[in-house]
Amino acid sequence: MALFRDENTPMIDRYRWWEIAAIYGGIALFLFFLLAPFLEGFLVSLKPLAQLFSSPYTFWPENGSFNAYFTMWTSVPGFGWYIFNSFLISTVATVIVLLLVVPASYAFARFDYKGMGMVLGGFLAISMFSGAVLLIPLFRLMRTLGLLNTYFAMIVPGVAFLIPSAIWLLRTYMKRIPLEMNEAAYMDGASQFYTFRRVILPIASPGIIVVAITTFIGAYAQQFVFALSFNSKTEYMPLPVGLFAYFGKQEVIWNELMAASFVGITPALIIIFFLQRYLVGGLTAGAVKT
């Protein structure tokens, strides 16, 4: 017997019962692998410390409570600051990336001069070197510029590695704007700069918003290596590094750290649910050929 058979289901999409079972079984296994750490992390945040550090292992929390979500603000003193820092760093990085990438993407989408192909290739090549490889000269550069132990030590290097995928994504978007727009503006006597500012930017704004979101997510997700190496001031630390400091300590308050982690990832989770349609296009764009 085939399940889910109604008027609207094409014959080709109808499954036998065992196929349905295999598909759901496979998906369950797949999602369990991807979500198990979150499940475990959430359950840990509900368990009292005494239960966490007891053998044998118990999966479900006994006397579980949301206590850790309230006590963490005092046990992890900088916690509110860490989240604020994470947001600040990501926001400033996103603004800088947009300022650099919007004009550059327009140039790549609209103009074709000798050497531009090579420059585009150069930008793509950059995305393949991670910041971790360049830490030594970057450290010396930050020291020379006097940026060590400031917010900018974490923002400035991060921006460079966010630029390539942002250019790639926005260029693809801007290419779809018809050339007739430029020609019409030209006929009306508009300068190139006026055309860019008054004609192209308004049309491209949905694409720019998508790039802003994906860049912000990227900046929020990757705050680790630069913050770990270029900043030693607790008050400037973003969330991942702030929490990392607690993992080395003798008495790790795991339930509160997990609670803190959950509060820290909530913005990202909210964005997934509301903007996933744009995200899929945006985040894979770097890998899609044109």
């Binding site: 991807l34 830490l135 000269p137 050339l179 997934i272 894979t284």
Partner: protein
């Protein structure tokens, strides 16, 4: 495309800020890494050129072991990502109720701050109190607690699994897009001829998503080769060097021991490998684009 000479200055002006920024923050440090690799740079004020001394110092069995380990670690990680990603994409492509929700649920490991996902894995691998060891004991598969990160062999595989966990969502979503781009009528024609689901997967889906698999495995190779956060947070290259990859090794030398010169030499070796991957990637994608248009 606009090609007339009148607008050339305008076009390059638009590009200039991004080019200058990247030149300072990425291109110049790359050159500087090569220069530093020939010096004895450290915390001392004076820096001398020492020729090939740093390279002579790292030319030893331990470093070759690190290189080999980096390659096997990367190979297994990419392999698992591709296999799991393909399975995931095929499953998520099935026309069953709930598939939109399942697709959203795939994304969290990719979107949340990497370090925080890794903290959670760190707890899962804990021998005394972690979920994996706990469940294995509960089901009687192991006798006592297993501290996964305390032994070289299990730490090696544990870091790979976490890396796969972070990489799978993007691979899956990308493959799903590739599968959905396959024209429906191919499947319908084969279905009319009585081809089974498996035959259609083998003869239509898999060959047509091959370009996506090749592109993604190259990108994944480069990203995995660069992987730092996972190993550093979980093991710091330990327990006794069994999870030390080239990036970790460079970090330990440069930032840990403050031997900038020697660290730069190690970084140069990484850059040589990355450049080779990069060239291979551009060649492959160009060839794929060429066959696509033919």
């Amino acid at each position: 495309m606009i090609k007339n000479r009148a607008n050339m200055t305008f076009a390059w002006l638009l590009l200039a800020p991004a080019i200058i920024y990247v030149a300072i923050i990425v291109a110049w440090p790359l050159v500087e890494t090569v220069r530093l690799s020939f010096t004895d740079a450290s915390l001392k004020k004076v820096t001398n050129y020492v020729g090939w001394a740093n390279y002579a110092k790292i030319y030893n069995a331990t470093f070759f072991e690190v290189i080999t380990r980096t390659f096997t670690w990367t190979f297994f990680s990419v392999l698992f990502k591709m296999v799991i990603g393909t399975c995931g994409a095929v499953l998520l492509n099935a026309a069953v109720p709930g598939r939109h929700l399942f697709r959203i649920l795939t994304m969290p490991p990719w979107i949340v701050p990497m370090a925080i996902g890794i903290f959670m894995w760190g707890w899962m691998y804990n021998g005394q109190f972690g979920m994996i060891s706990g469940l294995l004991q509960r089901f009687g598969l192991v006798d006592g607690p297993v501290a996964f990160l305390a032994y070289g062999n299990s730490a090696y595989w544990a870091t790979i699994i976490t890396d796969v966990w972070i990489g799978v969502p993007m691979v899956t979503i990308y493959f799903l897009a590739a599968i959905q781009a396959i024209p429906k009528d191919l499947h319908e024609a084969a279905w009319t001829d009585g081809a089974s689901r498996w035959t259609r997967f083998r003869r239509i889906t898999l060959p047509l998503m091959m370009p996506a698999i090749i592109t993604m495995s190259m990108l994944s190779l480069i990203a995995t080769f660069n992987s730092f956060d996972i190993i550093w947070i979980l093991t710091r290259g330990g327990p006794t060097g069994e999870t030390t990859t080239m990036i970790i090794d460079t970090y330990q030398t440069a930032i840990g021991s403050k031997k900038y010169g020697e660290g730069a030499a190690r970084a140069v070796v990484i850059c040589i490998f990355l450049s080779m991957f990069c060239i291979a990637y551009f060649r492959v994608t160009r060839r794929l684009a060429a066959t696509d248009n033919a």
